[in-house]
Symmetry: C2
Subunit: 245 residues, 2 copies
DNA sequence: CAGTGGTCTAGACCACATC
DNA sequence: ATGTGGTCTAGACCACTGG
């Protein structure tokens, strides 16, 4: 058995089960979309009661890591377009509707060394390489977001060649399907800035126009940063929606 | 018994218990800070097992409505300054620190009729009155946020007189202690705007300077809107922090 | 029909807080 | 010592899915 199911210290049983399952998801034993063994099967394997497995899986379900379907089973969560948009795209129209970016016009896509900030955020060495995609995203037929996306080249080997041809508007599904990398959480920092001359030209506005800048760091399951992204958004008839509970 | 504990339709038992407890919290039978009856006492009253009560209370705890303390009991959540800041104040310094607004300089505090937007957001009639507080909040010794807060006068009877003297930087604890109104959730809409002449003067900047505008609608337990707030923030060495899970 | 997750119960024991 | 919530177990039954 390569998974001895250690229970470090005085951690509750269900937490140990949860972490063991998480470990297997993170390491790819169970990939996104896969069905997990049933609660009873897991209980038997880990030598705990079914109720304990249930608590572990409920915990994972609460964090959007697995999806439970009565009568069918428990599945590893996948980045459907719906999930990606609902969780990771927070720009909506002022009347509350969800208007989605349609086209994604790639301006450039190149492989280069990271600058100091990028290397720090992505935990890379200055010798490593990153792939940077710069693009314009349109909403309602008009340029709305100027965006630069930066990922470690090591994990996305041929991205710089492929991306220029056709990059989907939502990247995370592609990360998962093509490179086996699942984005699980992200933190965003928002600021108001004035458009620089490049962004102004790309967005068809005057330099200095107020833009909403969103700086995102996205992480995998195990907390490794996999992407940094800086979006400059025209908030004209639109806004960034945030819910506080 | 004025609380017959109805179970509408095929709702699970624990959900009925949860809603019954929620109803008593919302109606003030159990106020913020109060201790709830023990799990066994509630189980006895509702004629269900202790495990079912546990699930109901765990659900409420997951929503920050009650706080469970092993060995002590279960308490109705209160707006401590820590909770208020952690949950409802998202401006942090760029280096990740939590720098808090110190002073709150009230510019005006008056009672008036709501405009159309305010009436709509607060679900008021145009005949009703609101109290509007306009203030400047300082961070690191410098004016950082221009803010206007608007609440229904009916629920905050003497706020217009009291507020001008001394308004705390965090209002929600005052709402709770003085007016028995608990803010439970809020939604925020963020935009980039250019400073108008008033804000520019108040913040000591040039008109047109990019500002982060945060429009918040805050709600009580039962979902009634109790406050709308529009903050214009200088994001200079600071940003709005948002976490996506 | 069999298999899955969802609910509900009952009871045992543990960890913590208070007196 | 007593009472609280936290964990864990075992078993029953329900609701949903698919063959």
């Amino acid at each position: 058995m390569n998974d001895p199911f250690h229970r470090p210290e005085k951690q509750p049983l269900y937490a140990a089960v949860r972490d063991a399952v998480l470990e297997r998801i993170g390491s790819g034993v169970w990939a996104p979309g896969d069905i997990l063994p049933s609660e009873f099967a897991l209980a038997d394997e880990f030598q705990v009661s079914q109720g304990t497995v249930r608590k572990a899986l409920d915990d994972l379900a609460a964090r959007n890591l697995v999806v439970r379907r009565q009568g069918k089973g428990t599945f590893v969560a996948v980045h459907t377009p719906e999930r990606a948009l609902f969780h990771f795209f927070h720009i909506v129209t002022d009347d509350g509707g969800r208007e989605l970016p349609t086209t994604s016009r790639v301006l450039s896509c190149r492989r280069r060394r990271p600058d100091r900030l990028e290397a720090g955020a992505l935990k890379l060495d200055r010798q490593d390489r990153v792939v940077e995609i710069r693009r314009i995203r349109e909403m309602d037929g008009k340029a709305a977001i100027a965006e630069s996306v930066c990922v470690p080249a090591r994990w996305f080997p041929d991205l710089d060649k492929r991306a220029v041809e056709e990059v989907p508007n939502e990247l995370y599904q592609m990360y998962e399907e093509r490179y086996g990398i699942t984005v699980h959480r992200a933190s965003e920092q928002l600021r108001a800035i004035g458009a620089d001359s490049d962004d102004a030209a790309a967005l068809g506005i005057k330099p200095g126009t107020p833009l909403l800048e969103i700086s995102r760091v996205a992480e995998t399951l195990d907390g490794r940063p996999v992407e940094i992204r800086r979006s400059r958004c025209l908030t004209d008839g639109r806004h960034y929606q945030s819910v506080i509970v």
